[in-house]
Each structure stands twice: as structure tokens, then as C-alpha cells.
Amino acid sequence: MKWRVAAFAVAVVAVVLFPRVAGTYPVKLLQEILIWGIFAMSLDLLMGYAGMVSFGHSAFFGVGGYVAALALTHWGANAATGLALPAAVAALAALVIGYFSIRVSGVYFIMLTLAFSQMFYALTFQVAWLGAEDGIVGVPRPRLFGLDLGTATAFHLYVVAFAVATTLVLWLIVRSPFGHVLRGIHDNEARMQAVGYAVNRYKLLAFVIAGTIAGLAGALYTQFVGSITPEAFVWRTSGEALLMVIIGGTGTLGGALLGAGMFILLQSFVSSYTERWMLLLGATFIAFVLFAPGGIVGALRGRIGLKA
């Protein structure tokens, strides 16, 4: 426990100070990793803890991204438009999609969540005032508590602060009474119901929490890139988050961050040498599933005897 807090603190300090020693491109990579890490962690809450494998988590990433893009462009660039509104709309979307999706499980849940996210894709692809296939570009970064996030340093701290806060919040949630109920549902949903848990309510709450955080990740991503396109909703966005979670180690929040790091580093390095970086990624994924089904974290635990 103590060393974990220490390791976390060291990691935070390293990430905060990274821009002092690294150039613009590595810093951008790090920010991308953190944003995707937030997204992947929110998916891990569903997958790894509640046992709900969603293939439509991009819906909330995209909703957060689009709402932030619209609001920041039209209603002023501040915390309400950049964060609160995107989170609220993503939560609402998760409530509606979750209400229908949690009624089924397994493959049907995967298919239903996928279908919902593809509906958003189709919608944004066609609606003119959402920019159709070009999306929304030239989104300004917000001012936060008098801090101009347009500057590189401020924006870096902002992304880091978000990643740290999300990690801590999710870490607390998975250890809370609610988190334990989710694990029970994951292990044996029918028995949870038989002893008296209104299982669907817990699943819906987990879905809404995960969706809200995914929405924040999407809002952050829009501010990072300065634009958003219908691509955010496409199944590949969900699939990549799924890969990050599995590569990092399902059911370990830190794993989702590590998985995001590995994925994005692979993507950026290998794609600078060859167009076929997806091939290598696929091979990496297969190797993990075959030889380290517990992901990076699982492999570390086995190797150096780390305990959860």
C-alpha cells in the first residue's frame, strides 16, 4: 500500500515535469496517452469490475467531444462549456443507452452498445450544423480559473490534473461498497439478485459513471486536438480502448493507463517506419492474449510477485 502511494506520487511528479526535459512532440504524445488512459480506465470500470464488455464506449467519448466543440465555439470558452456541459450530456446519453443495453448481457450487450455508438456516427456524419464528415474545427481552448489553457504549460498541467483526479476517483470507487457490489455482479449476477440486490440499478449507475468519465475524456481530446470529427464515434475508437484495457490488464485501473501508453507509443513509433503498424499491434495483442492474459499488470504481478 505504502509503496503504491509512493510510486503513484513519483509517477505524477515525473509526468508533471516531463515538458522540462522533453520536446513538443513527446509531450503531446504523453498528453494523448493520458487522455486515452482516462477513456480506457472508464471502460475498465465497466469491463474489469462490473463485467460488462461494451463495444460502444466511443458513444460517450464522441458526445463529450462534440458537446465541448459546440459549446466552446459558440457559448464561450470556460469550465462550464469545456467540462461540465460535456460531462452532463455524456451522462444523460449513458443513462438512456444504458437503460436499454443493461437489459441484455454478453454478446447482445456488445452488439447493442455498438449499435448505439454507430447511430451517433451516422448522425454526426450527416448533420450539416455538426460539420457533417468534416466535424467541428478550430475549437478554442477554455480559460479555467483565470488560467489560459492556450499556453502549452497550462494545458499540460490541466491534462495531468485531470488524469490524476480520474485515477483517484475511480480508485476510490472500485474500493467502495459500490465497487464491491460490481465485483459480485461480475462474479455471479444471478446470485447477487437472489440475495436481494437490484442488479440492474447498480449496472446502470456503473454505466453512467463510465459514460460520464468517457465524455470528459472526449471533451479533453477535443481541446487537445482543437477539433472533433465523426471518427470519434466509430467502432475503432471503442475497439482501441478495449485493446488498451486488455493489453494493460483488465480489472486493474493502472493497467488501462499502461495499456494506453503502450498502444500510443507503438502507434506513433511504428507508424513512422511502416504503414503496417496495425499488423504489429495485432501481433502484440495476440501475444498478450496468448502469453499474458492478465496484461502488463498481470505479467508484472506474476514476475516480481506484486500483489493487488
Binding site: 476510490l172 470507487i173 474500493r175 467502495s176 461498497p177 459500490f178 464491491h180 457490489v181 465485483r183 459480485g184 462474479d187 455471479n188 444471478a190 446470485r191 447477487m192 439478485q193 437472489a194 440475495v195 436481494g196 440486490y197 437490484a198 442488479v199 447498480y202 449507475l205 459513471i209
Partner: protein, 250 residues
């Protein structure tokens, strides 16, 4: 005073087959009632109807005077009815403590808390320890359920049902698949449970039935064949018939 559990003409069809056919029976408070009958008599189906795992085709279920007919399983459980399953139905990757603690916390109070540790909800944890003691698993609290022996898993199965503090405890063949020694241990354990807990138990082992039950209901083809005190049931010729067939083999 009304019976704790009252079934009125309870019926369930699977297609044209009447698995439970107009069953009427009353279980009094603090009673220990055994339900016996040959395979396919509708015993487990009857349990599934009471606990909301199946919807009845007809009839009513009253618990403590109120209708619970058609309620979903979690609502039935919250009324004070808890059950164990014929096939072990635990949380295999969680510890014995956590299996019991989750069941004890199923009243929902505190279970929606997103922050704070489970250790701070003292009541369910204390209940888990108390039940572990009662079902003979006090020394295995930190072991994963999947690592327990079969007999211990059956004990935990009863423990999970008991941890919810039920008024009515329904046990579906608690000794199924157990060795004679394990069966004896389970029988002693069940006999030692507080009398305040009303018990409805499906069992095939007649030694277990006669050492536990105050009253016995014999089901046959989904209907109540005999309902009476153990001695009366033991002496009833019809019970021998359904178990052994008639003397002329018809």
C-alpha cells in the same frame, strides 16, 4: 395469526406439462418443513416460483400475509426470503468473507456508496463473521470460494443464504453430492441454526429429513400427496408407493 408462507393453488405449466399443479400449503413461523418427493415431483420448481425465479401460471403466494406473487427475485429476497441452490451458486473468485459480506449487505443500505471503504460498514462484516462461525467456515474467511472443498462450498452456499438474515430460509438439497461424513456435518449445522429462522428444505436423504423436519410435505407429479407430521408421513402407505412403486409393480 397468519402462516409465514401460504401457497394457494400455486400452478406452473411448462407447455402442457403441469410441473406444479394447484399446490396449497402453509408454513408456520419457526417451523422446519421438509419437501420430499421423487425426481420430477416439482420441488425445485416450487422453490423457483416462491423466490420469483419463475412466474406462476396460476395461484397466489402470500408471505407474512402479503402477496409476493410475481415479484422479481431481488424483491422477494428483500421481503425476508432467502434460498440456497441445488447446484452450488457462489462468488467463486471472491473470498469466503466477501461472499458472506456481500449477502449480508444486500439490504442495499450503504451499497450505493461510491466512496469510503467496505470495512467502515461494520454491520455486514460482523454478520459475515457470525455466519462463517455458524456454517463452520470461520477458519477459511480469507480463502477464495473456488478453493474450498466441495463440502465447504455447500456450507458456504447455506451461509450466503443465511447471511441476509432471512425470516424464511429455503434450502434446495443442501447435502446434494456430499459424502456421509459431510452430510452429517451439514445436518448438525442446520439443526443448530436459530429456531427463529423458519426453514423450508428440499432433501432426498431421509435421515436428514427425519432428523430436521417438524412437518413433511410429499409432492408427487406437482401435487401435494401427503402433508403431515414426520411419523404420520413415515406410516403413510402412499408415500412408499410413490417412492418404491406398488407391491404388484404396476
Amino acid at each position: 395469526m397468519t402462516a409465514l408462507l401460504q401457497l394457494d393453488g400455486l400452478t406452473r405449466y411448462f407447455g402442457a406439462l403441469g410441473a406444479v399443479n394447484g399446490v396449497t400449503l402453509a408454513v408456520e413461523r419457526q417451523e422446519r418443513r421438509a419437501i420430499i418427493g421423487p425426481n420430477g415431483a416439482g420441488k425445485t420448481t416450487l422453490f423457483n416460483l416462491v423466490t420469483g425465479h419463475l412466474a406462476p401460471s396460476g395461484g397466489r403466494i402470500l408471505f407474512d400475509g402479503r402477496s409476493i406473487t410475481g415479484l422479481p427475485p431481488h424483491r422477494v429476497a428483500r421481503q425476508g426470503i432467502s434460498r440456497s441452490f441445488q447446484r452450488t451458486n457462489l462468488f467463486p473468485r471472491l473470498t469466503v468473507r466477501e461472499n458472506l459480506r456481500l449477502a449480508a449487505a444486500a439490504d442495499g443500505r450503504g451499497s450505493y456508496r461510491l466512496f469510503g471503504s467496505v470495512a467502515r460498514l461494520a454491520e455486514p462484516l460482523a454478520r459475515a463473521h457470525e455466519v462463517a462461525e455458524a456454517v463452520g467456515l470461520a477458519l477459511r474467511l480469507d480463502d477464495e470460494a473456488a478453493r474450498l472443498s466441495y463440502g465447504e462450498q455447500r456450507q458456504l452456499e447455506v451461509g450466503v443464504a443465511l447471511a441476509t438474515r432471512p425470516q424464511l430460509l429455503m434450502l434446495d438439497e443442501p447435502t446434494a453430492g456430499m459424502s456421509p461424513e459431510e452430510t452429517q456435518r451439514m445436518t448438525r449445522l442446520l439443526a443448530a441454526l436459530p429456531r427463529a429462522v423458519t426453514m423450508l428444505i428440499i432433501e432426498h436423504d431421509m435421515d436428514v429429513v427425519f432428523s430436521l423436519a417438524d412437518r413433511i410435505t410429499v409432492l408427487h407429479y406437482g401435487e401435494v400427496l401427503v402433508d403431515g407430521a414426520p411419523d404420520a408421513v413415515r406410516a403413510d402407505a402412499r408415500v412408499y408407493e410413490v417412492y418404491l412403486g406398488t407391491a404388484d409393480g404396476a
